[in-house]
Amino acid sequence: MPEKLAILPAFNEEGSIGRVIEEIREFDPGFEILVVDDGSLDRTAEIAAGHGAKVLRLPFNLGIGGAVQTGYRYALENGFQLAVQVDGDGQHDPAQLGVLLQPLLAGEADVVVGSRFAAGGKYAAGRSRRVGIRLFALLVSGLCRQRLTDTTSGFRAVNRRGIRLFAGDYPHDYPEVEAIVMAVRQRLRLREVPVSMRPRDTGHSSITALRSLYYVIKVTLAVLFALCRRSVVPLEEVEEQ
């Protein structure tokens, strides 16, 4: 049983999923690659299986949060010690997984987030998106008493503690920012590392202009509530039961 799992949430990513799988394998063949097909209508699942990835097909679209949590459940139940989260759209460069994994392997962090803006990171995004990303970074940095620059990044790596927490509870829609606050509130050690991201290969960002207002309100509300909410208990180790 491999120790490390790569979770690739994918929704209609037939154009890029194959390449992402190959690039992860190129970086480190020791990863088990799990594609969570979030109700795609194209050939995503078929292509992923053709590239030798394990594929979980959700019966309908759960949204990114539900898809990612499926991956963490799989990681928990199959005894993985490390899990990385890589988007199936090719935005995250698997060659940078080394940077992401380093603090986990050194035992310095439980959750590592790849940031586009930390230390010299550059990322071409529209102005309104950049402003939004900055605002959340400020809000969450204040709440977590730790300087964070990119809370919306979905390029992440977690150890067993992180897997247990996220398998037990993971936010539903637009989960990235809230998951950070959850992790900090559970006293997991969070670390941000600089990564560069590529422009998306294919498909569209799930955040359209119409939805951005809902996005901002929902995330702000969720982040504020994450602090005073009844807290979740991370799932117990399966082996211990």
Partner: protein
């Protein structure tokens, strides 16, 4: 002008509604996704209950001679909105439920077949 006692009562009711909503979210009984319309309802009711002049102007503008009735109208509109929203949510849930039941039946059939194959005789 809205009678003062009506305003006080309406403010208290709106604040109570708001507190109940916030507490439900905090206890994880209500997801943010389904709370937004309720929050909008509670905040609008609170604003118009407290801002007596505003409620008066709105009533005048739409031809309602007794301003507290405008509060009733507004509340009814919000209730219609929330109910419509729930109807769409229920429709989606029942679609998904159908898909789940179908997948489960297919999986059970598959599981039964592979069990029979595994235990010959």
């Amino acid at each position: 002008m809205t009678p003062f006692r009506v305003s006080v009562f309406a403010v208290i009711a709106s604040v109570l509604l708001l507190l109940v909503i916030l507490e439900l979210i905090r206890r994880r009984r209500l997801r943010e996704r389904y709370s937004l319309l309720w929050l909008l309802t509670a905040v609008s009711m609170l604003v118009l209950s407290a801002w007596r002049g505003g409620l008066g102007s709105i009533s005048d503008a739409v031809g309602i001679s007794y301003p507290p009735s405008a509060l009733f109208v507004l509340a009814s509109l919000f209730i219609i909105g929330v109910l419509l929203h729930y109807s769409t949510v229920i429709s989606r849930l029942s679609d998904q439920n159908t898909i789940l039941a179908q997948r489960l039946a297919l999986l059970e059939a598959e599981l039964g077949e592979s069990r029979r194959e595994a235990t010959p005789g």
